[in-house]
Amino acid sequence: MAEFFHMGGYALYVWASYGAALLILGLGAFLNWRILKRSSARLEHLRAAAPHRRRRDGHGAE
């Protein structure tokens, strides 16, 4: 197990690479997912507040 983490003496370079990938792609996924959830909740809220203006298609209210 220690050998695995040691990466033949290149631990710093290998784990920094995988760490950077996890950070960049993980953060990108999390932030964009949260933006989508929040905008969907806001849209639902607005539609519930003004049900008579509800449009069935995607581009009525623009």
């Binding site: 695995f4 990466m7 033949g8 003496g9 290149y10 370079y13 290998v14 920094a16 690479s17 995988y18 950077a20 990938a21 960049i24 792609l25 990108g28 996924a29 964009n32 997912w33 933006i35 989508l36 905008s39 969907s40 806001r42 849209l43 607005l46 539609r47 507040a49 003004a50 203006r53 298609d57 995607g58 581009h59 009525g60 209210a61 623009e62």
Partner: protein
């Protein structure tokens, strides 16, 4: 084409595709990492640093793929003025910038132990750095222009002009004498890499691809939500003003 470019059709299509790509991404993370970090051999020259390649190469491929997609969407936006093309191109740009940044970072982390330097100004590295700045410029241009029609045109033209950099990146290792090695997977006569190393490479590529589709669709849906929210808020405000005038 026009049928799928309709926002309502897009919502249906994306709702159908999203679970597949999202779950494929979730499943490919442990599978890809297992093959990249555990179940593949060390290279006889690079040693364990070859594992950095399983991130670096897919990230670089996705950086070029994303820019190509952005340029195609920009052409569709310029020619047919379709709003979904703008939504797609704009949603893709930060993803492309992220892939390019990751390709540059992992490249430097591999270059230091293997080449003995973090960076050289050779044609491949320099042209990829330019790609990164093209992504940033594209994002900044959208934010800098208030009029949506003007911003759309300017950003689309920038994306198309910048596309000239994509073949330059691809062929830089053949046209110039670079420290960066030439292509070893997509080349005449088949890949020059052992299957034990091609498996983790393609698994990580599949992971990056599924991740890209998932986050791109999330971003496009969020942008369409924003447009609807703006419309509804304007309608609510107009109704409130009418009531005020009537009272």
């Amino acid at each position: 084409m026009v049928r799928f470019a309709n926002p309502a059709q897009f919502q249906r299509l994306s709702d159908m595709l999203l679970p597949w790509f999202a779950w494929a991404t979730v499943i490919l993370v442990p599978v890809g990492l297992y093959y990249a970090l555990v179940n593949s051999p060390a290279d006889y020259q690079q040693g364990e640093t070859v594992r950095i390649m399983y991130l670096h190469v897919p990230a670089a491929w996705m950086a070029l793929f994303t820019y190509t997609m952005m340029a195609v969407a920009s052409a569709v936006s310029l020619i047919w003025k379709h709003p979904l093309a703008d939504v797609a191109a704009r949603a893709a740009a930060p993803l492309g910038a992220a892939f390019t940044a990751l390709a540059l970072i992992t490249g430097m982390l591999w270059g230091e132990p293997m080449w003995g330097t973090w960076w050289v100004w050779d044609a491949r590295l320099t042209s990829v750095l330019i790609l990164f700045f093209l992504y940033l410029g594209y994002i900044a241009l959208w934010d800098a222009i208030d009029n949506p029609a003007t911003a759309s045109r300017a950003a689309a033209i920038l994306a198309l002009v910048g596309f000239v950099n994509v073949p330059i990146i691809k062929f830089s290792v053949d046209w110039w004498n670079t420290l960066h090695q030439p292509a070893s997977v997509l080349k005449m006569g088949g890949p020059a890499i052992h299957p034990d190393m091609l498996v983790p490479l393609f698994l990580m590529f599949a992971l990056f691809k599924c991740y890209f589709v998932t986050v791109l669709l999330w971003r496009m849906k969020a942008e369409l939500n924003r447009a609807k929210i703006r419309g509804l808020e304007a309608a609510v405000q107009a109704a409130a003003e009418r009531r005020e005038q009537a009272a």
